[in-house]
Symmetry: none
Subunit: 143 residues, 4 copies
Amino acid sequence: MSLTLDICRTLADAALATGREKGMKPLGVVIVDARGAVRLTLVEDGNAPLRADIAHGKAFGCVMVGVGGRALERMAKDRPHFVTALGGLTKDRIAPVPGGVLIRDAAGAVLGAVGISGDSSDNDEVCALAGIAAVGLKADTGA
Amino acid sequence: MSLTLDICRTLADAALATGREKGMKPLGVVIVDARGAVRLTLVEDGNAPLRADIAHGKAFGCVMVGVGGRALERMAKDRPHFVTALGGLTKDRIAPVPGGVLIRDAAGAVLGAVGISGDSSDNDEVCALAGIAAVGLKADTGA
Amino acid sequence: MSLTLDICRTLADAALATGREKGMKPLGVVIVDARGAVRLTLVEDGNAPLRADIAHGKAFGCVMVGVGGRALERMAKDRPHFVTALGGLTKDRIAPVPGGVLIRDAAGAVLGAVGISGDSSDNDEVCALAGIAAVGLKADTGA
Amino acid sequence: MSLTLDICRTLADAALATGREKGMKPLGVVIVDARGAVRLTLVEDGNAPLRADIAHGKAFGCVMVGVGGRALERMAKDRPHFVTALGGLTKDRIAPVPGGVLIRDAAGAVLGAVGISGDSSDNDEVCALAGIAAVGLKADTGA
């Protein structure tokens, strides 16, 4: 199974709808596939210019390292020199914080990751989980 | 007037629909606003990993330099050292070829740009123009 | 409303006049617009070579992340791995300290930011606030 | 003698006044001193986001290599591998085209350089020369 554009659209729409229902700040969502290639970006009105880059950094970091955003944040706190190195290896394209969530199939294989940014990292993650649930796939936050 | 996410969605959907109608190869579309910030990325199934980056390079280059992709390509042919320098100034994020089209309002102000990649550059541009027409804005290919 | 060069000149002159009145060290001031594009830089005589870059890092960081310099500094203290990531995402062009102040219009929309460097960060900020007051716009220090 | 901020202001104002008198497109002007440090940036309304960076690349390249922009362009055409290397050595901050002009004192010592961008490179250079003439210093275009 692979992450089709149709799946990405449904996932992202559900994630953004959750943010609107809960009255969150304007969000940006990025979905990368198992290769780390961007398949979808949607940035709501009223965001700062860096929004898409932060959301990308969350999703891209998860796929490239193979863990969820909470695991990346633990690594950043416990072994900052290692996450600094991961940043260097990826040309500084990783954001090691919650709001990046791996997308796995029923067997656990990584299909990609979604990254959301705009509200608190915890709220960003709530939206990511709602999106992944909407397409019937498994979320891995790294918690 | 500014480029809302709703406008971006309508523009991109019309561009991708054009590609499907004409039997083009799978496409990637990126829309950046007047700040050069990504607002939308959609990459159809079956693309190479670099597709979103190429489409981004087309759109981003148009906004940052303030001209359409055909003007950038002419510059690259006539003054390659200058376009190499533009690449350096933007950390190599410019793709100076057709398929990048400025989006202008009725008064001519730049609202952003769309970049499409996947088929020939000429076909990519056809889809960009269809998208911009669908939202009633003015296209500037740099021709 | 947008940040014209005339507004930038008046803002910067008032900021530098404040530094002179208060006997501060030589200052550098940078103003970026809502796109993150530099509109004005003025560096007084007697500064170290990096002065303009520091002032730019303050202003640019505010606009790209959408918060004032004091908010960036809090983030840097509370979540250093996140601000390190923001640095990476912007190619290390952010200086997350006071002296960077968002410029908002009456409705709260971000028009740009001013960054000042040269004296203490608190004094730098005093000059930024004087400059923004001189053009009748709203300052957001992130406090 | 050194390049004071007062000199930079007078130079830049004369350069921009020339552009307005001749009906040129909106311009951006950057002045760097003999160390390569930015002392002044002014970008007129209606410019693309990259304008200040291009003007900086012209001025910075002149000072760092010690020749005028026309000499840099000749080098870029005659020995592209060398100018590519100069770009690498400066982290791609050089724009090797006319519109970058060295500012020399009466004895020929380099005080800095001015870079102008926005109209044709030839017109940009006309404004740079007018600015340097207004402060009674010697211009070196590299011609």
